[in-house]
């Protein structure tokens, strides 16, 4: 009798674990994001109006509307599961960090979850005003002088949000506020991995700030790793 109870409890626990969105040791989707064609040339940024930032860059940095890597890799692409996975209403307790350094946003594209805490720091010697421009989330605009504590905020709706600083017009960044934990931002070679996917049919979307988004369907049956590649058409302007 007792063994039956223990057995049933074990089954219940196993079932509960299987129903959560991320299953350690589950299947995965991996791939590369590349471009074809010639992307627009990035322009060097003139920071002479802000000497404290200009002197942090031995050579001027460039705009980041299209960032490429070796072998036609396309960086700063947000690859995420847009359908097939349940919405995760409890975000990770760990905050994500967005930094203003050298009058640049680091990282250029920051992906995080709905209601996850975002911490914005100013590591420069000049004031910045952090001004994300959402359309469905609330728009706010806060001044952040040097030496003041990090600003904590969160967004309650999924959205891709451009970020700017009004004082330094060359500063541009992006927030990707997503509904679940299955996302990655391509870095260092255009590759991404979405691990811990339970079996099911998924729609994977790749979003680039200049080239829009593309979707592909993928089915995970067990603990396999499926490969999904995205190719964006580069525009010369």
């Amino acid at each position: 009798m007792r063994t039956k109870h223990i057995f049933l409890a074990g089954v219940a626990i196993f079932a509960a674990a299987a129903m959560t969105s991320a299953v350690p040791g589950g299947g995965a989707v991996t791939g590369k994001v590349t471009y074809e064609g010639t992307p627009a040339k990035q322009k060097p940024i003139d920071m002479s109006k802000e000497p404290s930032c200009a002197q942090q860059h031995a050579t001027p940095i460039s705009t980041e509307t299209v960032v490429t890597g070796p072998n036609n890799a396309l960086e700063n692409v947000v690859v995420y599961v847009s359908a097939g996975a349940p919405d995760e209403n409890t975000p990770p307790s760990q905050p994500v960090k967005f930094d203003q350094k050298g009058c640049q946003y680091i990282p250029h594209v920051l992906a995080f979850q709905v209601n996850q805490t975002l911490e914005i720091a100013n590591d420069d010697q000049t004031s910045h005003n952090i001004h994300p421009l959402p359309k469905t989330n609330r728009e706010w605009n806060k001044s952040q002088p040097p030496g003041t504590p990090a600003i904590s905020e969160k967004y309650d709706k999924p959205e891709f949000i451009p970020v700017k600083c009004n004082i330094h017009p060359w500063m541009h960044g992006n927030f990707a506020v997503l509904k679940n934990s299955h996302f990655a931002v391509t870095q260092g070679g255009g590759s991404f991995t979405l691990p811990n996917l339970p079996p099911g049919k998924y729609t994977v979307t790749a979003w680039h700030e200049s080239y829009g988004d593309q979707t592909q369907e993928v089915t995970i049956s067990g603990t396999e790793t499926k490969t999904v590649n995205f190719v964006f058409k580069a525009k010369p302007y």
Partner: protein
């Protein structure tokens, strides 16, 4: 048998309680002083007075804004408020939050100087309250967002030279001059690059020009401008970085930048050597052929 009747009675009572809620789901109210506004009445007024600029849906795309259907020839220099997006410039509430009913009422009554939004004092207080109630039906935010609390504005301390001088230090330290310029003339290094949240060019306020602030003319209004930020514009909120006492010092200093507008702050500032020097260097006096020019 008795239990069935009781249950049925309870269901009927509950139905009666719920029904009014369903019927008035679209009806909003506003409360401004002693006046209660109703959105049904406001609707009639909106479609008579407001929609030409603010648009049929209240999204700021009225026919007066884009008569030719493109941005190349807008009749109005500043786009009318988009009530659907519900992000408002002149508020008593923190950045990113909804305004109070009073904020909207004051905006309608005062109008926006230097823009095409007139001062609607021709309408009665009840009319204006009704319009506020109707505006609140145009965006789902009024139902989904928690009502926001106005910021706490402490009593204004007396104007003094120390207050003005401290305000001057804050103006430099907080880098207001980056946009507003060192004399507050709207000619700072970043001024010409500013765009609002619709990517339209926008200029920072020019204190020396002396026009009223868009969000009101008093010191209290000026305090709220930089402590709540002007949402939708480059002007951020400094609420997290200025202490309330310091904020009043900045208000007093900003009044001395309005060199063509007489105020107690400017009068006191002119009495000091430092202030007189700065203001006289800026003051635009006389006409090219008049007697005000110092030779």
């Amino acid at each position: 048998m008795r239990r069935d009747k009781l249950t049925r009675l309870l269901m009927v009572i509950i139905a009666f309680l719920v029904m009014p809620g369903l019927a008035s789901a679209q009806e909003m109210q506003s409360h401004v002083g002693k006046v209660t506004g109703h959105s049904e009445s406001g609707k009639q007024l909106f479609y008579r007075y407001c929609w030409g600029c603010h648009g049929f849906r209240g999204d700021g795309n009225g026919e007066n804004w884009l008569p030719t259907g493109s941005f190349s020839n807008p009749y109005l220099n500043i786009q009318p408020r988009n009530f659907v997006a519900a992000s408002f410039k002149c508020r008593s509430t923190p950045t990113g939050t909804l305004p109070t009913d009073e904020d909207l009422y004051d905006a309608i009554k005062r109008g926006f100087v230097m823009s095409n939004m007139p001062s609607w004092i021709t309408l009665t207080a009840q009319n204006r309250a009704d319009l506020v109630a109707f505006i609140k039906t145009l965006s789902p935010r009024w139902k989904s967002d928690k009502p926001s609390e106005p910021i706490n504005v402490p009593a204004e301390p007396a104007v003094s030279l120390e207050s003005i001088k401290h305000g001057k230090e804050l103006f430099t330290k907080l880098e207001c001059w980056k946009c507003h310029g060192p004399e507050g003339r709207g000619d700072g290094p970043s001024a010409s690059t500013l765009t609002d949240s619709n990517d339209q060019p926008i200029r920072p306020y020019n204190f020396a020009a002396g026009s009223r602030f868009k969000c009101g003319a008093s010191n209290h209004d000026l305090y709220k401008i930089f402590m709540t930020g002007l949402d939708g514009t480059p002007m951020p909120s400094f609420a997290d970085v200025i202490k309330p006492e310091d904020a009043w010092d900045l208000v007093h200093y900003l009044r001395t930048l309005q060199v063509t507008h007489s105020s107690p702050e400017l009068a006191l500032w002119m009495k000091s050597k430092e202030g007189a020097e700065i203001v006289n260097a800026q003051k635009i006096g006389g006409t090219p052929t008049g007697s005000g020019i110092k030779q």
